[in-house]
């Protein structure tokens, strides 16, 4: 493991507050999801349908992209294309400048984080107001999101209270979570109405109408996308669905898997700009379609990952995520889905620790609402890291020696016959607490003492007796 990753993990493990914060939110999320799934007898068939809808889109991606573009333009939207993060940010900043924007409101979008939009807006000198409560907390803390559904999951209520007291104009007593939410509501109210541009992501792009779908519980997306003159959407090209009906099937899966609710409080389809005679809405509607590695995933054996709905269930159920939290992963997307995506986005050389920091227990695949085989995809990265020679020489050497030995049964038996009694010398009451060369293991847990004889010797004896 690289030292940077190990250092992040060590820091996370040493942070007791972090563990409390993670447990509080992911615990609630797991039990609510379990209840929602238990109340749906056909959940497994529904997951298979979800997987098949997304696979159908991926298999016909060019067709649906072209259809979406055609219908979006017909509805009055302007469609832009970005190959990578830089192009996407350039387009968004250009549109903001063109609108003479001094202040933009933003509704949480993981794609926005992925392309580095917060940073790009700051560089352009444009005021950025994060409107999702968690993103607001993250912005005040000068932090990054640590979960794709609950970006501020790493903060306890006590820490949020401190941030609001220091930054809000009218924080009040902040004695409860209710009071904190109220303080944020007062703080952001006027900002919503004063923004020149509102920026959102999209949970779905509806091919047959050119609409985009946002889902929120707070109502911040609509308050972000309605009052300003300009609404800009940034969305990954994989977010397509053939029609509104197909979106409904995926919404049932997405929301239950994310929060355990049947539908988010606000599920909104935005199609084109304000119509003539409409009471409100933006005059201009721009959709920026972003590739940023997605087309490459199609040909690189990662097509299944393009089905991801960003529900966060695989994070909430991951034993590793629950111990180290999101920041230790070092990428935009944490947890199992992040360990598959980060090598695509940041390169395998700097992120090959992530696919290895996985127990392959399969929980993530079991809860994924679209049945993405996450462990298989992670193993794919491990293979690739090996093939591309990214493993350190010590590891390669050790595996080479292992291979040499296991291919020679006589040598293998001799070595184990020597090793077993040696190991037993270090054992106390059946467990080894410390032993030369095994510090990496025994520092955190004991190692079980081996049986008196090797497996092969025992078999041979038993055969001889019978």
């Amino acid at each position: 493991m690289s030292t940077a990753f190990t250092a992040r993990v060590d820091a996370a493990l040493a942070d007791r507050t972090l563990k409390i914060a993670i447990d509080r939110t992911t615990g609630t999320a797991r039990s609510k999801r379990a209840a929602a799934v238990a109340a749906w007898p056909h959940f497994q068939q529904a997951r298979a349908l979800g997987r098949d809808i997304k696979a159908h889109v991926t298999a016909n991606l060019a067709h649906y992209l072209a259809e979406f573009e055609r219908n979006a333009i017909a509805s009055g939207a302007q469609v832009h294309w970005a190959r990578n993060a830089e192009e996407a940010c350039e387009i968004v900043i250009g549109l903001c400048r063109q609108a003479g924007a001094r202040s933009v409101t933003r509704a949480k979008s993981m794609l926005g984080e992925e392309i580095g939009l917060p940073h790009a807006l700051a560089e352009a000198g444009i005021e950025r107001v994060e409107t999702d409560l968690a993103e607001h907390i993250v912005q005040l803390a000068g932090d990054t999101p640590s979960h794709i559904v609950w970006p501020a999951l790493h903060k306890t209520r006590e820490q949020v209270g401190e941030l609001f007291r220091a930054n809000h104009a009218d924080p009040g007593a902040l004695a409860s979570v209710e009071a904190m939410v109220g303080s944020a509501r007062r703080q952001l109210r006027a900002k919503f109405m004063a923004a020149d541009v509102g920026i959102s992501g999209a949970n779905f792009l509806i091919a047959d109408t050119g609409a985009i779908c946002t889902v929120t519980n707070e109502g911040n997306a609509e308050l972000t996308t309605t009052p300003p003159r300009v609404h800009i959407v940034t969305a990954g090209i994989e977010k397509l669905v053939p029609s509104l009906s197909h979106a409904m099937s995926l919404l049932r899966l997405l929301v239950r898997s994310a929060t355990g609710a049947e539908l988010t409080q606000y599920t909104t389809f935005h199609c084109g700009p304000k119509r003539a005679g409409d009471a409100d809405g933006p005059q201009a509607f721009h959709i920026v379609l972003v590739d940023n590695g997605r087309s490459k995933m199609l040909t690189d054996g990662l097509a299944e990952m393009l089905s991801c709905l960003r529900c966060g269930a695989c994070l909430n159920h991951c034993v590793v995520y629950r111990h180290i939290g999101g920041h230790a992963y070092g990428g935009t997307y944490p947890g199992p889905m992040g360990s598959v995506l980060t090598p695509v986005l940041d390169g395998l050389e700097t992120s090959n620790d992530l696919p290895k920091a996985c127990t392959l227990n399969g929980q993530c695949q079991e809860v994924c609402p679209v049945m993405i085989p996450l462990p298989t995809l992670l193993r794919g990265w491990r293979d690739r890291s090996w093939r591309e020679g990214l493993e350190p020489a010590t590891v390669r050497g050790a595996v080479w020696a292992w291979r040499l030995m296991v291919m020679r049964p006589g040598l293998y038996r001799l070595a184990t016959r020597i090793a077993v009694p040696m190991m037993r010398l270090f054992a106390r009451r059946g467990w080894i607490a410390a032993m030369p060369l095994a510090g990496g293991w025994t520092r955190h847990r004991d190692f079980p003492a081996p049986a008196r004889q090797t497996f092969m010797d025992q078999i041979r004896q038993q055969r001889g007796q019978s």
């Binding site: 007898p41 016909n60 970005a82 609950w150 199609c271 009471a279």
Partner: protein, 214 residues
């Protein structure tokens, strides 16, 4: 820009199939839906909707009235019960503006901090307990987001069973700028996963189900 577009299409390079084949495959997927939906509607869709929206998961309050002319009375009762001033923003919809508001001061322009607004949903979905608003001249999107108390009128004969019924109805109409499915009052679980109402949108949702057709 066109460069980026053609580069992306070139990189995708999915085999091109006849559009009719793709459409057939897409509708075959939808044919599987009715057999696997969570069975939660029953015969009386309006009753199922009302039970769901006022049930513990969504937590809105609700009242049933016989006809539209009973709405001002129901609004008055809600205001009294919550100790609110008799002043409401009324969604600029003819069905509401024409009602006899009597001692309730009704105004049309909604303020950023409007205490109470009354709106009318175009229809509702029983499966999820959702109110559906189609933005337009009579339906400003912000009406469903700015007030602290949002009172919504919906007609019993405007309740549909499933989300797919909503999609089917929309496919027959020109798309509005916003199609809003509102399922309960605004809420957040962003601080330690605890649910708190009234995040940015309304903190309270009150549904008035009108039994008779208009």
């Amino acid at each position: 820009m066109t460069d980026a577009r053609s580069a992306i299409f070139a990189a995708i390079a999915t085999p091109s199939r006849p559009p009719a084949d793709i459409a057939r495959a897409a509708s075959a997927l939808l044919a599987r839906v009715p057999a696997l939906r969570p069975d939660r509607v029953g015969d009386d869709v309006a009753a199922a909707f009302f039970a769901r929206v006022t049930g513990p998961a969504i937590g809105a309050s609700g009242a049933k009235v016989a006809s539209l002319s009973d709405v001002p009375g129901a609004v008055g009762a809600y205001l009294a019960a919550h100790d609110l001033a008799a002043r409401v923003a009324v969604q600029p919809h003819p069905a509401l503006l024409d009602l006899p508001w009597r001692d309730i001061v009704a105004h049309r322009d909604i303020a950023v901090d409007e205490p109470v607004a009354i709106g009318i949903a175009d229809y509702a979905v029983a499966e999820t307990g959702s109110l559906v608003f189609r933005s337009g001249a009579h339906t400003p999107t912000l009406f469903a987001f700015l007030p602290l108390h949002h009172i919504v009128v919906v007609r019993a004969d405007g309740v549909m069973a499933w989300l797919e019924d909503c999609a089917a109805a929309e496919s027959r109409l020109p798309a509005p700028r916003n199609l809003n499915l509102v399922t309960g009052a605004s809420g957040t679980t962003d601080i330690e996963g605890a649910l708190v109402r009234g995040a940015h949108g309304p903190g309270y949702l009150h549904v008035i189900l009108v039994q008779s057709p208009l």
